[in-house]
Symmetry: C2
Subunit: 374 residues, 2 copies
Amino acid sequence: MKYDKFFSEDVGSFMRSPVREIFKKVDLASIYSFAGGYPDAATFPIDDIRRISAQVLEKQGAKSLQYGATQGVPELRQVIARRYGVPVENVQITTSSQQGIDVCTRVLADPGDVILTTSPTYLGALQSFRAYRADVRTLEDFAFDRPVKFCYVIPDFQNPSGETMTLAQRQALVALAREHEFLIVEDSPYRELRYSGESVPTIYSLAPERTLHLGSFSKIFAPGFRLGWILGPVELLDQIYVCKQSLDLCPPIFDQYIAAEFMGSGALDANLQKSIALYRAKRDKMLSLLEQYMPQGVSWTHPEGGLFLFLTLPEGFDTVALYDRALSAGVAYVAGSFFFVDGSHRNTMRLNFSFLDASRMEAGIRLLAEVIGG
Amino acid sequence: MKYDKFFSEDVGSFMRSPVREIFKKVDLASIYSFAGGYPDAATFPIDDIRRISAQVLEKQGAKSLQYGATQGVPELRQVIARRYGVPVENVQITTSSQQGIDVCTRVLADPGDVILTTSPTYLGALQSFRAYRADVRTLEDFAFDRPVKFCYVIPDFQNPSGETMTLAQRQALVALAREHEFLIVEDSPYRELRYSGESVPTIYSLAPERTLHLGSFSKIFAPGFRLGWILGPVELLDQIYVCKQSLDLCPPIFDQYIAAEFMGSGALDANLQKSIALYRAKRDKMLSLLEQYMPQGVSWTHPEGGLFLFLTLPEGFDTVALYDRALSAGVAYVAGSFFFVDGSHRNTMRLNFSFLDASRMEAGIRLLAEVIGG
């Protein structure tokens, strides 16, 4: 039987995640992987989760297993609202921050509508924008000759570049958004993972009337929980709420109570301090390994936080073509061109520094340097 | 600031769930509610979940908290595949069965495409179909003068009617689908909750080449877990898999391991037997209360399973208009017309019989009969 005629037009614009395709081909444990955005499993608060799970079943009982409100359970919305200092009605819980991106795009963009983004940018966001057949344009190049629905940015420790927008850059973006009347989607999964330098105000705090701020538990608690949140104006959240009814009725309830207790009791902050110390050491290790092993002509970013840095090889290198050789040698990365709106910058790659432990990191970087060195 | 110009065209077709709007207005505990599709909290296997949660953290450790495969964790796909006797590659895990409906619609239907359904039908499905601006038509009335993408049915203990399609009806639908070349989405959240009568084969078993079968843990385990599954041809599941990458990357991992252990170890079947006994008694109680209290001229369906039955009042009654009086009197239902594609049948209502315990059920039905009796 042929199925082609049954598919919607959107399907023609679906992108397969090259990251997820890599993980279908190889067993993560068998290679040195700098490819995914996986947190270090050592940061997962297993003992807290064991204790809190039992406590939630004891305290909330059946309520933690029943259907719940589409906006999220009140306890979780409250602890997030308190953390940011915003009213509860400005908080919508999402079933992962990826769902946050998807639902914002769904509610805001029709096929052909302009969405701006920096380039490079997060792959999963490009997937969502393209799946709705939006016209994805690069912020720096856009002439503002057509209306823009929103601009998508990751201001803190960007994925994939690792770079952070300065306050002046954030203010300039807000001014541009006010001038040309577009919204800003501020994706902020790494913000709490700062290892050096000074914190910069969120775009949401600079322009709460036109910003949807996406938060995530994936990098500060555990990605297996698939929980995130959106902060934004109630007028926008109200339509996101109605959309979410048809997406999945409500976020997972048991998980939300666990996350609420983890965040509300202070366990998250205690765990975060340990994670930051661990990741700071890993970032420093990564930077010194690159210094030690990479051939001349290779450069890289120096992130103040997050999980990634971005490597630029000399002109003429093609990291997509190089990829199979790297994989055969036992080391994985994500080719940088996948993160660019136009697929350019074939001489770049994204490297994750959160996942591997120090000795595997060294072995992996040595191998990668050999592959690059030729 | 005005937000209207930012919204996508889809937003104009969003429907607010009247069920969820009811729950925003009133505290469930303060009234006799026959409105929601809530399972009885007494069926929630709290002790199993406490034991299995700890066991999963012990056995799977960090794996249960890390990112996982978009198709679902292998252990859960395997136990579901075994339960149905199908290969694992025909199983996709979803973050709730509502997501199953949403993602099938997304992958199959463009604005204006014809989706067939029985009328009445599940409200959440109507919400999804309308949110994609599909042309929703009633199966019985459709002339087949245009191509159809798929027909959506709930063959077992339908929501809202409580009725079950006979084998002959299922075979006729399959023959029609083969003749007019459309797919079938078989929504099956209640199938395992049969209290009397004989099981009828699934449509998926009759036409695996053109059926997407949606299953759910919500009514047989706990709705707070937001886990469901889709069985279907690999060609369709492959596009659903790519779409799901941009929806939420993967279903909740910790929850999936808990569900896999609950189903795989036999605990689900043990719990199901108790749930069936409880719900059978509730259905029987509900039927006898209706017999005892309802005024003449009121009729209702006699479901062999599931959570709902459907009441028809004499012509001229309007259950939407009656609703505020019922709520003031302390009893809630869902007006039947919300489930009809054309909003007709204003003299009907859906009643849930799984949620209230026997004594509250009696008080509620007595009140409802008074409201109807006038």
